[in-house]
Symmetry: C2
Subunit: 466 residues, 2 copies
């Protein structure tokens, strides 16, 4: 038995993570003397003793500390950080608890100095969102962050297993074709730097890079360049939209997972990857972080009955027919010129058993220029949307136009995309791919309704705190 706290702490540092609460609760070594550190989540006084629930972020679970009141330092309260030495025991109810022999206050947390969370009070997500610096300490949000972290890992491992290479597409780009004006431009803050660099005839916006530079709205076009050589590639990183949207599904900065595959001749191949991706990563998260999903979720809880069902596939025309036959079941009138509103998407999925649903074979005029036309019907393109419960559209994808001549005709005027055409001109191959909004995926599996609550530091119109 180590009685010297310094010795134990030193030993602890050698493999610190083994001593986090997740591992302590897993290993369950009753009778072992340990040191544990974390934040006080709640306290209950009971005659001469105190029960303290402590959490260190490694799990949603708390470790209960049992300690005599007389050795509990002044200042230990909800929100403060402590270090505790003691012996693991089973409580009368059979749960692991720590019989503390020593407790140190590391950092106080005094409400009257302005801490915005009172003990034992529930706060709305809107309230918590005002204090982004403290949000990772709250139960719901830290559970969401663990789900997000597990999803990140599952995504990288999924693509590795499927033979895809990670190729980080650029954030700064001189292409703005896709954004149609709703992009952010990027210039040095320092006018001196621009002036010292600018070449004759260029505007200030072009001074640093010799061209205007924008924040990427999608890595797809660059990913296609990598795909023509590496075969199967994906990128997973931030993308940006300068839209004045207040929707619960939109942010100015959000994460996109995009994948592209060479030698793919039909849309089934893309649907197969997407279905396999969603089932695999969701099952992975459930295996490791099911409790976090439950804690982070808003009621009603998300259900996962779709995990062992085949995803639905219907054509755009079939989807329109369902909407037209069910006009009384949604509010916003459906107009084929406007495409599906979120309400229509959610209705379609629920009409089909709340199983994720691919809608394929879209009218050409509703999709971007690079999607591949049918050979026997030039009014339709080989595109897909995947609709899911809670959020509606989660994934969009297509085969890409791989004919140099057709693509050249369809490329919007004024864009500088000769390099993109080059991919087809020299050693071109049929490719296809898709993009998934990562935050929407987290909303889908947790049921959290506002996208601002599924990203660590949300940025949206009129808001860029911290």
């Amino acid at each position: 038995m180590f009685k010297n706290i310094a010795t134990i702490i030193k030993r602890n540092y050698a493999c610190n993570h083994n001593n986090n609460i997740l591992n302590i609760l897993k290993s369950g070594q009753v009778g072992t003397e340990i040191v544990v550190q974390g934040w006080v989540k709640s306290m209950r006084n009971q005659k001469e003793n105190v029960f303290i629930d402590i959490n260190d972020g490694s799990t949603d679970k708390k470790l209960q500390i049992f300690i005599p009141q007389k050795i509990t330092p002044y200042g230990v309260n909800t929100g403060s950080s402590i270090r505790v030495m003691g012996v693991l025991k089973h409580s009368p109810k059979g749960q692991l608890e720590l019989n503390a022999e020593n407790i140190d206050l590391i950092g106080e947390c005094v409400l009257s100095k302005g801490y915005p969370f009172m003990p034992r009070k529930q706060y709305t997500l809107e309230y918590i969102r005002q204090y982004l610096q403290f949000r990772p300490r709250t139960n719901k949000f830290s559970s969401m962050l663990r789900v997000r972290s597990a999803a990140n890992l599952a995504i990288h491992n999924f693509f590795c297993n499927e033979g895809f290479l990670n190729v980080q597409s650029p954030i700064l780009t001189s292409n703005d074709c896709e954004g149609a004006g709703e992009v952010f431009k990027v210039i040095p803050e320092s006018k001196e730097i621009i002036k010292s660099m600018i070449k004759e005839g260029l505007s200030l916006d072009e001074g640093f890079f010799n061209t205007k530079a924008f924040l990427s709205v999608s890595g797809q076009l660059h990913l296609e360049a990598a795909c023509h050589g590496l075969g199967s590639v994906y990128t997973f990183g931030p993308t940006f939209r300068a839209e004045n949207s207040r929707s619960r599904l939109h942010l100015s900065e959000f994460y996109m997972l995009e994948a592209e595959k060479a030698f793919i001749e039909n849309i089934d191949g893309i649907m197969k990857i997407i279905e396999s991706l969603l089932k695999s990563i969701t099952q992975n998260i459930l295996d490791t972080n099911q409790a976090d999903i439950e804690v982070s979720s808003e009621s009603p809880q998300s259900d996962f009955h779709w995990l062992d069902k085949k995803f639905n596939v219907l054509t755009y025309d079939e989807a329109v027919k369902i909407l037209e036959n069910n006009k009384n079941k949604y509010k916003e009138p459906f107009d084929t010129n406007d495409g599906f509103a979120k309400e229509h998407e959610i209705f379609l999925v629920s009409h089909l058993g709340n199983i994720p649903t691919f809608v394929i074979n879209w009218p050409k005029n509703m999709k971007p220029f690079y999607m591949r036309e049918f050979s026997d019907n030039t009014e339709k393109v080989s595109a897909l949307d995947l609709l899911v419960p809670n959020v509606g559209e989660l994934v969009g994808g297509s085969l890409r136009e791989n004919s140099y001549e057709k693509l050249k005709e369809k490329i919007p005027e004024g864009t500088n995309l000769d390099w993109y055409l080059d991919l087809r001109k020299f050693g071109g191959v049929p490719t296809g791919g898709f993009g998934m909004g990562f935050e929407r995926y987290i909303q889908f599996i947790t049921g959290i309704t506002n996208i601002k609550d599924v990203i660590p530091f949300p940025r949206w119109p009129h808001n860029c705190s911290l």
Copy 2:
């Protein structure tokens, strides 16, 4: 035996990645009929037959195709894409080769139409860099991209195993304190959007977010907020510098790996994580992609003798003494006011056996405000740099000032970092962390000298192609 190519292709799609060249060469199923697709890397004519080396990006290896000239379509040449059906056999030399029964030209590659690479010619990295859209098709660069992808995966798995959570720090931030003016600012391209949103009294730059917004130069401060609640966290994403630097070690957009750990009381704990990280991920990459490292490397080849050595640790004062005692061994004079130049860093590492070397205990005035002062010497801070062969400084880290009062004194004026102070004011804990330039890491292990050649789409002053 399947004789119908369409049937085989269909079967192939069901589990396409199993049929890439990496898996074909691994499984080595002689006598099996397969379909393979890829790009022609080289061709040799031999009387009535043709040998074609084909690659599909899944490996650095080529699969040799053996085919009668009379059934080889016109247009199959270096750079073009083909689909081949045939039977795997051992060549007379014992290597696997494909006896082709059928070959289809998928995409031609006609030099006279402007393809910039001639068959059998070697090009410099500078030349290749002019054609970013084709770069992933070249041998060296595709090997580098596979190394980079393997490193990405190894990093995420390392941190998961060590109990760290991935928390994506924001790219857009209203803090510019660290960049000291050398930051990019971000505004919507559309003046209409700004005008429709701007509130009274704000500048155009503040119109969209109600504040100026910049591209992040580091995720550390935000990571510290997540660390106070989650314990052990990391972020791995793009960061930006608006510096007019033409160095072979600097880009305007580059990837940083940053980690932060709570309850850490001394710099040894941070060094331990860094050493373990570098050894673990490098060993992982060598296990899966050693050939890619060799192909991508410039001569002389990187050596990995440091993998089973303990990293060196010396203090800043000791490092200065070594430099002062060896003035004749480097060109640029060393001045304690300027800190180490790259040449000094490289000299120090080579002087110490080309083993990665930590330099610790730095003068306070050479490091940022948030690093923790020694309790017994307020002129020094608990900071570290890790110097490595090829690149010099690879990692920087420190304990963070966790005293609210001291930090408040040291925070630069005019910054809006009350939220950062709040982390110490309420439930503060000792933390420490580090940041590693990902491209420099790739340079370190491959020996590639120019940082522009270790990122898919490099951005630097006067350059933002594609």
